[in-house]
Subunit: 274 residues, 3 copies
């Protein structure tokens, strides 16, 4: 069956780790259609991997299988997980890598508290399975590469029609890694830069719906921007717009806002209503 399997990892593109994963998948399901989301997640940066997958899974068919492997805890007690959702299947370590997908689930409420991983209930329309069935794994299982030996073969078997519930036991909780949420302080919304893309655009966590069509002033890194542009307009200007992420984005057309502002992930962005 020609099922789509996407890969989001921190393996890089020089090493043959991604190719090993693909070989394992194709050995089990020669008809799998494998699509790279990114192999250039910063090593061990779970939240960045979660963000990148969170951006693009919605563009794939709802029967696609998304494998994500940013897995600093490989070989420890952290479990592997399979999430069966109406938006696709998700396979990887249960370390928060699917936090942005979780956040999109109807009825999901981000838990209060700090930046530490926390257990949250599996959303109502989802099912979660702990990967406990070794018969769907590659053996011997390396203690340093579950992407190749557990997640890849589980994805391949799933793509061939093995039922999710055969992969392991159902679990009620799943790990959520808190993502930065914007908050109101009076007439002011405070958000954060959550991603810097390759063009130097600063993607924030402020939903586009909060700023589009409104009279606002945006403050970032000591600069003030008046109003929201409809696109990347004004070469060399610093502009605020709602980009393809559907969130407030700061850009410098034909240049890099990140370089211009020396901005980075985590930086504060304020929106003031006028």
């Amino acid at each position: 069956m020609a099922a789509i399997i996407t890969l989001t990892t921190d393996f890089g593109l020089e090493d043959p780790y991604g190719a090993a994963v693909k070989g394992v998948i194709l050995s089990i399901n020669p008809d799998a259609l494998i699509v790279d989301v990114s192999h250039q997640v910063e090593p061990f940066n779970i939240l960045q991997g979660a963000f990148l997958l969170g951006y693009c899974y919605t563009f794939f068919p709802k029967d696609a299988i998304h494998v994500a492997v940013v897995d600093p805890g490989v070989g420890t007690e952290r479990r592997g997980i399979l999430l069966a959702t109406p938006q696709g299947s998700f396979i990887g370590p249960d370390n928060g890598i699917f936090s942005y997908v979780l956040r999109d689930a109807p009825g999901f409420h981000a838990p209060r508290g700090g930046p530490r991983p926390t257990q949250v209930p599996v959303p109502r329309a989802w099912r979660a399975y702990s990967l406990t069935e070794p018969r769907f794994w590659r053996h011997p299982v390396s203690s340093t590469f579950h992407g190749r030996d557990i997640f890849a073969p589980v994805a391949a078997h799933l793509s061939r029609g093995v039922k999710p519930e055969e992969m392991g036991r159902s679990v009620p909780l799943v790990t959520y890694l808190p993502v930065a949420e914007p908050r109101w302080r009076g007439s002011r919304m405070e958000g954060r830069v959550v991603h810097v893309d390759c063009f130097g655009n600063l993607i924030t966590n402020i939903p586009g719906s909060r700023v589009i069509g409104k009279e606002v002033q945006v403050e970032v890194a000591g600069k003030r921007i008046q109003g929201i542009s409809s696109a990347y307009l004004g070469r060399g200007e610093l502009v605020a717009t709602v980009g393809s992420h559907e969130h407030l984005e700061l850009a410098r057309p034909m240049g890099s806002a990140a370089a211009y502002l020396r901005a980075k992930v985590g930086d504060l962005v304020k929106v003031v209503r006028k």
Copy 2:
């Protein structure tokens, strides 16, 4: 239908923009065979993207669909275009990204003048369509990512058999971004470095046919090279050869001519007949 769709972009490989494009294509045509030409065009460098696509489109079947997205003008008045040619279909912004393909068309004459984009007639055997039919787009259309919301779905629908003329209205002119052309000055030909590849080879705009089998001396960055080598011969030497681009190329076998000469795109290269 298993149609080939190639992608040439400046999206980089870290961000999930290329994956979003692939998800959109596969959601419309699950049988599309997507091939990356390059996602590492320098941001906004239309001419570099044009060069890279120009190098490789001829190696694909003539029914392949080539999507190119280096699109600094996204969200402005620049139109999207579909070129239906005997060598394949080309989809992207009408900003000159297909200049090298245009240049290959029988009967094409480069317009005189400076380096600015100019409108040229659509070659005789081609048809050009302005992308004006929103029913083949993804909605809502982001003002910052037509690659995902217009060019990808148009390519996918085309690959499923939608006729080019259904995508929009036929247009008589298309944008050409002048590429550097070599010229004769007496017995001397003056050309330019038009690409530096990852080996540090300097690809010029001087056609191989002008130098092959001829007694010539090549001058570049203050160095003189006698004769044309049949291959990358002579470790550590600076050699002139006709590479796989079918143009005069300067190389340093087992090393980098670019690093050795501190050369870059735009540098002058002279060929003198002896």
Copy 3:
């Protein structure tokens, strides 16, 4: 036929050389399933390419075709070769790029001597063919890009069922580029770092079977590590483990052992039994 063709090259990802190879393959066999192993082998580093392919070919089906092009000698007398083995087919320059595959062959004995390439007998269960039949090539053949004009079309024709023996004449010897082998000095084994991966893990040439379950001390770059960890355990610690390469590996969980030790390929690693 949906045959798998993998690519291991030093073409990089910016240039369209890999895409040209794919276009040539798909023009001959539109059903070929092409998988990138790596295009980021260091330019001209045959041994690194050999290592990367050596790591991952075993994860692919045994009828996969592996094309490897790290080819500083392109255009010289070095021949092209096709190796038909029980573990897959291998196509590329006969310059040692398949040394790690050779080393895995039953009965293979590494020749004594220095680091220079040497001719070794083709393993018993293998067949080797010098690529001498131009009818399976793309013409005209560039003297600088046999990957595109010879290896790609030969792989594509092979994937369509052309017999290996049609591609050229059978040869009894194949080029082997000596890979570093560990050796015993009394109770001490001396090995080398043979690869630094993108996480900064140092992969050595010391087989995991030599150290697993044994009381050993590992010495590298002036540091001593007691015992073998079962995984990447101990954030910020320097640990020795047997990684997915099935060889002794030095790692720094959540960090880079390479950066911490300023270590590189070729560095000495000692294992002392206690």
